[in-house]
């Protein structure tokens, strides 16, 4: 990871805005889960979002591809504002890849079918071309030999790498990661993180909810700390870890790094 850290500086951030969230509020029933969120993500940024459980970090990134609906404020993804217009939502979703904590591969389809399904049906890519793309990304996540197995035959780490490849097959401009390593055994976490680091080095715009602080230090250019539905602190990783400003952040860091 030291090697990756060295490359970190090389990863360019452009001026183009990928995601713009302004004054966003969300409630679950009467519970105010996200409070006055303002985030601007430039193209090429790698943002790690951390915070205690229940702080709203998963809900936040799920709002970006409208798996959750926000009630106030504005979310603009790649120039398209998320409203109730289904066409816009489908457009945004095909531009934004998402990786879930529990992989959510389709168990009734082979790995290859998992990877080619959305390109064929949403992007209308010819099957052959979709399969070539799928093989390319399977090579990239280093499991081309599993292409014709079913998800149930793969280990957790392999499944998560397939899930990443599945998102990449849609050629997304932004990738969202919702605790991608939380359901994995320690031995498998590394293989998934390595894949994500490579992706970051390729210049992908990434928003990751994760507790992998090593990953944050290696590739993130910004760390956002959330608590009780609010952004408490955001800074570049070096400052964030070495010199946290708020007491809440200090407490959180001492608890996750303290042992």
């Amino acid at each position: 990871m030291a090697n990756a850290a060295a490359q970190n500086a090389a990863m360019e951030v452009s001026d183009e805005v990928a995601v713009q969230i302004t004054g966003m509020n969300k409630w679950f029933g009467t519970f105010h889960v996200l409070r006055d969120i303002d985030i601007t993500v430039q193209k090429g940024e790698r943002i790690v979002i951390c915070g205690p459980s229940g702080s709203g970090k998963s809900t936040l990134i799920r709002c970006i591809n409208r798996l959750e609906e926000h009630q106030q404020g504005k979310i603009v993804v790649d120039g398209t504002e998320l409203t109730n217009d289904l066409k816009n939502i489908d457009k945004v979703r095909s531009e934004v890849g998402m990786v879930f904590q529990h992989f959510n591969l389709f168990p009734h389809l082979t790995i290859m079918e998992n990877l080619t399904l959305a390109p064929i049906w949403v992007r209308k890519v010819p099957r052959r071309e979709a399969e070539e793309t799928a093989m390319y990304f399977l090579h990239k996540v280093k499991i081309p030999e599993q292409a014709h197995k079913y998800p149930g035959q793969l280990s957790g780490g392999q499944q998560q790498r397939v899930a990443i490849a599945r998102s990449l097959c849609m050629k997304p401009r932004i990738m969202l990661f919702d605790e991608p390593t939380s359901a994995l055994d320690p031995e498998m976490i590394k293989e998934v993180l390595d894949t994500m680091i490579e992706l970051a080095q390729d210049g992908m715009t990434m928003l990751c909810v994760t507790h992998e602080m090593g990953f944050a230090q290696a590739v993130a250019n910004r760390v956002i700390f959330m608590d009780q539905g609010q952004i408490v602190e955001q800074n570049e990783p070096k400052e964030f870890f070495n010199n946290p400003k708020s007491d809440r952040t200090k407490l959180f860091l001492s608890q996750i790094l303290g042992h």
Partner: protein
């Protein structure tokens, strides 16, 4: 402290210990493992023995050649003594055709026979879409058997040649690519209606054209107004065609190109032919309706949700017989007098709606078994609602629901016997009552019921075995 342990060599895997096997070991383990088990085993053997001793002589004394029940009894008394009981299968020999065809004209029996054979052909792309070997296993014996039966039924030579060529052609296509038979599947319902009821070919052809209208309107509009509205527009256009235009079209086409076969009235239908007509059409239509109802029940659009819940709860809350009476009596009162609505058609519609409601609930169970993550993954990839349902949700939900769906289907098929309550000749009560009303066979009891029961069992057991095959084939989760 004990010495620290460090393994220097990893252990190789070993074969499991040899299990005590052989029949003696099996008997010990399963039949007489304890005193209680031994007693139960003895009791069970005794019960089986009693049953066999009761039924076996009756079966063995069976008489196949006799003109009446009285003759049967005389023959049995002559051969096995005055007190011996015996089955009088002669009644089946004399009346089998009524159990199978009802009062369908004997010289036209080849029509239902061809339809029955084609039913299997039409089912192949659905049952074995990617398994040509099984298609061969089903269709080769079927084609041979059908040709034999057609000869026995005295089929006119031209019909026999056409049927033979057609079936062989289907076999040839199906064994290469089962999905190549899909056109047969789509045309089958129309062909069968024409074959069974006869009459002008144009009646069926115009009905078929209504679906073409539906499809065309859907294709033209779906890009602009969305799937649901386009489907509605298509249905409305098709309904206009069927109700307003089709009648004139039939008359004029028949005048220009008269092509008709002998027509057969619905009241000639009976026996298993009737059971299959009602059962197969209801089964095949009720599954898609059930899927739509299950989705409707999950919908967050209040109108669609309300209609689905209302329909499902109403239909499940009312006995099938009530609905059949409604079909036979009330519908006729409410429809305008000149509208002729065939009784079998009415029964099919109601049985279909009935089992659709049950299927909807079974499929809802399957939908509930899917983790939320599957919906989210489909959404996150940008699939729209119908794509997600068709490609991700339904394949998994239906797989989970197979046992329940087949359960509903088997129940439905056996429930077709209830149509005797509205005067149709089902094989169980309708035909059997007719047979038993004959002076020659008065007093016969077991034989017709055993015969009918055996055929029902074959059909239902077939369905259940196919369901098991399907479950095994679709098992990809490796749990």
């Amino acid at each position: 402290m004990a010495d620290p342990f460090i393994r220097t060599q990893m252990l190789p895997p070993m074969a499991p210990p040899v299990r005590t096997s052989g029949s003696i070991a099996w008997i010990r383990a399963n039949l007489i493992s304890s005193w209680l088990n031994a007693i139960l085993t003895v009791l069970a053997i005794f019960a089986v023995y009693q049953f066999v001793m009761l039924a076996l002589p009756w079966l063995l004394h069976g008489v196949w050649y006799a003109g009446s029940l009285g003759e049967c009894r005389d023959i049995i008394a002559q051969n096995f003594g005055p007190d011996a009981g015996g089955a009088c299968w002669a009644v089946i020999r004399a009346r089998w055709h009524q159990f199978i065809f009802g009062f369908y004209p004997p010289e036209l029996w080849y029509r239902p026979i061809i339809c029955f054979a084609l039913m299997f052909v039409a089912l192949m792309p659905v049952l074995y879409s990617d398994d040509p070997r099984n298609v061969g296993r089903v269709l080769i014996p079927l084609v041979l058997l059908t040709l034999l039966v057609l000869v026995a039924a005295g089929t006119p030579a031209p019909v026999f040649v056409i049927a033979g060529l057609g079936l062989t052609g289907c076999l040839w296509v199906g064994m290469r690519r089962p999905l190549g038979l899909l056109p047969v599947t789509l045309l089958y319902p129309f062909f069968t209606v024409w074959m069974l009821w006869g009459g002008s070919v144009w009646g069926v052809a115009t009905a078929l054209f209504g679906f073409v209208v539906l499809w065309a309107v859907y294709r033209l509009t779906s890009q602009r107004i969305g799937v649901v509205l386009a489907t509605s527009a298509g249905v409305i256009a098709a309904a206009v065609w069927w109700l307003v235009i089709a009648g004139y079209a039939v008359d004029s086409l028949q005048a220009v190109l008269p092509f008709a076969i002998t027509s057969v009235d619905s009241d000639k239908f009976g026996g298993f032919m009737l059971a299959f007509v009602i059962g197969v059409s209801s089964i095949s239509i009720s599954l898609p309706i059930g899927i739509l109802l299950a989705l409707g029940r999950q919908s967050n659009m209040p109108l669609i949700h309300g209609i689905s819940v209302g329909f499902i709860e109403f239909v499940r809350g009312v006995p099938l017989i009530t609905m059949l009476f409604t079909a036979s009596l009330l519908l006729q009162y409410f429809l305008p007098p000149q509208v002729q609505f065939d009784l079998i058609l009415r029964v099919v519609i109601l049985v279909t709606l009935f089992s659709a409601a049950y299927n909807a609930e079974v499929i809802r169970g399957g939908l509930a078994a899917l983790p939320k993550g599957q919906y989210e993954a489909a959404d996150a990839l940008g699939l729209d609602y119908w794509q997600a349902q068709r490609l991700i949700i339904m394949p998994q939900a239906l797989k989970v629901s197979i046992p329940g769906i087949v359960n509903t289907f088997i129940g439905l098929f056996k429930d077709t016997t209830l149509v005797s309550f509205v005067g149709l000749m089902d094989p169980l009560r309708g035909v059997t009552a007719i047979v038993r009303a004959d002076i020659k066979w008065k007093g016969i009891y077991w034989e017709p019921y055993l015969f009918v029961g055996a055929i029902f069992f074959l059909a239902c057991y077939g369905m259940s075995r196919y369901a098991l095959y399907l479950e095994r084939k679709l098992k990809t989760d490796h749990r």
